[in-house]
Symmetry: C2
Subunit: 612 residues, 2 copies
């Protein structure tokens, strides 16, 4: 059998299996898989250098299905390559199946590296992988398959720019230009020139092909691998290709073929066979030279320091003791102090400029290949990557994120630069860890622990310097808290985190003047939270005043109430202080007073709660 026959038979089987699996499921996207069948067949048969039995092998090429709804096509291809059997394929979309409606890397299913299904996210993750390969001097390549509808997402062009800027010639983008979106034709139909011209303008190589002509596909893949630039292959295709009642027809997006028409469809595609393919072998791994001896000391502080500065210094220290640590910046590294790491490990510092979506996508790709990737920007601007972070959580990615300049305490720059909803954003993510230290020593210890945390971990840092609270040898276990002041006579507990710990300590002094004894708890771990300590405080003191430099919704106050409710019946009073209106520009002190989260406001809230 010649190559053309071999590829075409595999493509036909991919189309058939996409139909069979979705018809068995009663839902899914067969037609979006069929347009990509030839592209997948030639790639997996002869270009993707991949050990199907060892998908986590570091020398493998990587494939990302950015158009995640074509999952049936990917699963059909993986079946042909020997990843699993046909009976697994037919569990698609059933409860407990690893073959989800859109690809998700889950335990026991190692053939998917990053979750896709929210469009426009594959390229940035691909850049992260391409950079990881380069850092480790691995001769491997990243192949990203995109749909044409997702080319409308700005995140695609943001990643295109970053890929060209970083010279990721080991990345190839394949655009499945099937002309039809969910509800009708796309903006540009089969006008491949539009995408070629844009790719060229963004510094890429670009090729137009017929996406069902296997020889053209093969030639394009060769060109992509040979060209030093990242290459976009714009492939004109037909949605539902190969079946007369599906091909290039509207009204078939995300619809399974009815069971009574399935046999006709399979017959049109040449009938069932058992086609197998074996991807080419990956390259050997290079020797990793021994890392240089670390020459940065663990930071310690004996005076006030901004937690953002302590973050930067801790990160620089970590980067020298662990050569898998990579640091990503959104062109604010002199504000977040992520640039401290650049100074000691420039080869593992990646500047993504003002492109937060790409930054998080790159981070997701890096961690998929074993890197311990930290990324930092203003907490407010992590909102820009909220969907990428959401998808990373779905993909069980280990993201270590730092949001700086938290709360109204940023001051004069005003609300656009203030993170006041970030705790709500990160708390709501599955399996996330949310950390908000109040001083330098606790920040260092927490950053150190973040390097080994699973899932999404978020560190919230403050612009202003804050006083020393702790010694550098103190432990700050995830899920713990610190009771920084207490007495046997406490009739109220002040619960804070970050800057509000300091405001609470001042409030305690003010209250002492009124003969009111107040406990102060530093809830540096907002999620998981120290429920036992909080419940004991409520039971012992009767009143909790929770104060946060964050919106009143979704943050520390809600976390405390949740912890109390989860640990038994409620009894006592919980007062939440937080940002309840829209801030403007002013000094940090003025803004904390305005929001009612400064020491005087806290003390007043305690007096009111106690009827004093």
């Amino acid at each position: 059998m010649n190559d053309t026959q071999r590829w075409n038979e595999l493509a036909a089987q991919i189309a058939i299996d996409s139909i069979r699996a979705t018809t068995a499921a009663g839902s899914g996207h067969p037609t979006s898989s069929m347009s990509a069948a030839h592209l997948l067949a030639v790639l997996f048969a002869d270009h993707l250098r991949f050990d199907i039995k060892d998908p986590h092998y570091r020398g493998n090429d990587r494939f990302i299905l950015s158009k995640g709804h074509a999952a049936p096509g990917l699963y059909a291809t993986l079946k042909a390559a020997g990843a699993f059997d046909d009976d697994v394929l037919l569990t698609l979309r059933h409860e407990g199946s690893p073959l989800q409606g859109h690809p998700v890397p889950i335990p026991g299913f190692p053939w998917v590296d990053v979750a896709t299904g929210s469009l426009g996210q594959g390229l940035a993750a691909g850049l992260g992988m391409a950079l990881a390969m380069r850092m480790d001097e691995i001769d491997a390549r990243v192949w990203v398959l995109l749909g044409d509808s997702e080319m409308a997402e700005g995140s695609v062009w943001e990643a295109m720019e970053a890929i060209a800027f970083h010279g990721a010639g080991n990345l190839t983008a394949i655009v499945d230009l099937n002309r039809l979106g969910q509800r009708g034709p796309t903006m540009h139909g089969w006008d491949a020139d539009v995408f070629r011209d844009r790719a060229l303008a963004f510094g890429w190589n670009a090729v137009e092909i017929d996406g069902h002509d296997v020889a053209q596909i093969d030639r394009a893949y060769r060109e992509a691998a040979d060209d030093g630039r990242p290459t976009m292959i714009v492939a004109r295709t037909q949605k539902g290709r190969g079946v007369s009642f599906l091909a290039d027809q509207e009204g078939w997006h995300g619809k399974a073929v009815p069971a009574d028409r399935m046999d006709d469809a399979i017959a049109e595609l040449g009938g069932m066979h058992d086609i197998r393919c074996t991807p080419p072998a990956p390259a050997d791994l290079p020797e990793r030279p021994a890392p240089p001896a670390p020459d940065v000391e663990r930071p310690s502080y004996d005076g006030p320091v901004a937690t953002r500065k302590a973050f930067g210094e801790a990160l620089a220290w970590l980067a020298t003791i662990n050569r898998d640590v990579v640091v990503l910046d959104g062109e604010v590294g002199n504000s977040t102090y992520a640039e401290d790491a650049e100074k000691v490990a420039p080869e593992r510092f990646v500047e993504l400029y003002i492109a937060e979506q790409t930054m998080v996508g790159v981070q997701t790709g890096l961690q998929a290949l074993g890197k311990i990737a930290f990324a930092a920007t203003f907490g407010a601007f992590l909102t820009r990557a909220a969907d990428q972070i959401r998808m990373a959580a779905i993909g069980r990615a280990d993201l270590r994120l730092c949001g700086s300049h938290a709360g109204v305490s940023i001051g004069e720059d005003g609300p656009s630069q203030m993170a006041v909803e970030d705790l709500a954003q990160f708390r709501a993510l599955n399996g996330s860890t949310v950390l908000y230290p109040a001083d330098g020593a606790s920040t260092v210890t927490i950053v150190e622990q973040m390097a080994s945390l699973d899932g999404i971990s978020y560190l919230r840092t403050t612009r202003e310097a804050t006083p020393v609270l702790y010694t550098q040898n103190e432990a700050f276990p995830i899920g713990g808290s610190k009771t920084v002041a207490s007495s046997a006579d406490d009739t109220a507990t002040l619960v804070g985190a970050g800057v509000t710990v300091h405001e609470s300590l001042v409030a305690r002094e003010l209250l002492a003047g009124d003969q009111i004894a107040a406990r102060v708890i530093d809830c540096y771990s907002v999620k998981p939270i120290d429920a036992q300590t909080l419940r004991r405080a409520l039971e012992e003191t009767g009143t909790l005043v929770v104060v946060e430099d964050h919106r009143v919704e979704g943050g520390l106050g809600d976390a405390v109430l949740d912890a109390l409710a989860a640990t038994g019946p409620l009894t006592g009073r919980v007062v939440k202080l937080g940002v309840g209106e829209m801030p403007g520009s002013a000094t940090p002190e003025q803004l904390r007073a305005w929001a009612g989260i400064d020491a005087a406001s806290i003390a007043a809230a305690v007096r009111t709660a106690l009827g004093r």
Copy 2:
């Protein structure tokens, strides 16, 4: 005085006033303002057709400062145009000043239409304004000033595509190519060709100029106004232009000139004068023809219907009775049913394709010009526009958003398509309204009210049909709830919203079989929430089980606890049921059982809480 002199003197004053205001504030971005001084001077003196005394006049041209940190430059220009006096200018960044660190439209300061300061958002808002002008046949133009750093944001290119697709020839983008970002040089420096080539590839007209040559600026503005296409003017500039120690120097981003160097800077710029300008007069408004008589009936339901379908039908009805209603789609209008409005008002239906950031930006621009703009996509994908929505809240914009396919109840498509953090996202926004109806009648009444709500309002809808609960004449006040089942013997209260109201009603039947009487409350208004009814229920029944098809963090459960804490001491038991792990693909029924939010799980939770 000739034009050149006039423009240059105005530009010098803009630079001087940017320095004076920021030095008085002790912070801010003078150098980023100075690079744009000539661009602003020529625009406001002779091209922006704008009535400075009536900034909300619908016939005005509009200006958007997408590079919001150049706010001092904008304020200096507005001062010269007579908006306010020099003493106001010098209140920049002070508490209570309308002149915030980044531009914000606030009561009493009508010269800014949309909040900026998170980069890359101006163009999409500009498209919304350009479309509003076209819908109303107003001969006016939108001018958007961008920085070069923000060109790295994908949202810029996403908007570029949409602007070209919609043929918004009445929009001009001006790129202030000053070569320096926050921490160093930008990716492309002064290489204006890069941006020209990309603009051309995105279907725009493009012009390169020297951004300090007023004659070139004037000519480019004329060309932009004459060309039928949207035009990008790429202006090479110097950050800090005109002052020797600032011009094109690194290390001056976001820094005020020290007071002791201010006089030198002012002297280099030619010293202080009192230059004024008067923007050209705007066009007259066309007559608005009388709208056609509405021919769509208010929808009503006597059987099960999906709330997403009721949303679409209510929207179609609203579009026919109010000609200012505009409906935006992210290429999923056949899933959200926003396309029902397209069928009756195609001229006010805007297809943005898979571009959620642009969709929300366009919406923000439309509402700034008086449109009642609704936008809909899957709730999960509104995450993509989280930063745009955040900025809209800061800008006091009235966004009416619908997120469909909420919760695990979407079923087989899997977690990437599931909105399970959306209540947390929208609850945390200042002044937001969060609505989650459980049946068709309540949906229609709520959508009707959304048309007149201020701020960000969010409607959460469900994929599956849900049974009738209410009659079409019932009121659903914002901030209210419905007690859908109760008795004098209730020993527990089930609090739900959307699908979980129906699960709670079934759970109530199950519990009745165990001689446990349970109240059921439909919390269709998640924010504001009906605190009094919830508190009474806790006091009367002793136990609240709050159940939501959403993460356990930040949603209905937290809102209920917050309401209880805010209304007095806590006593009783509150059990929160929600999504606590990562879902996969399965049927809606399987997933609700898996999450522990189906009727059987609710009943079991009540039994456990009561020790039965």
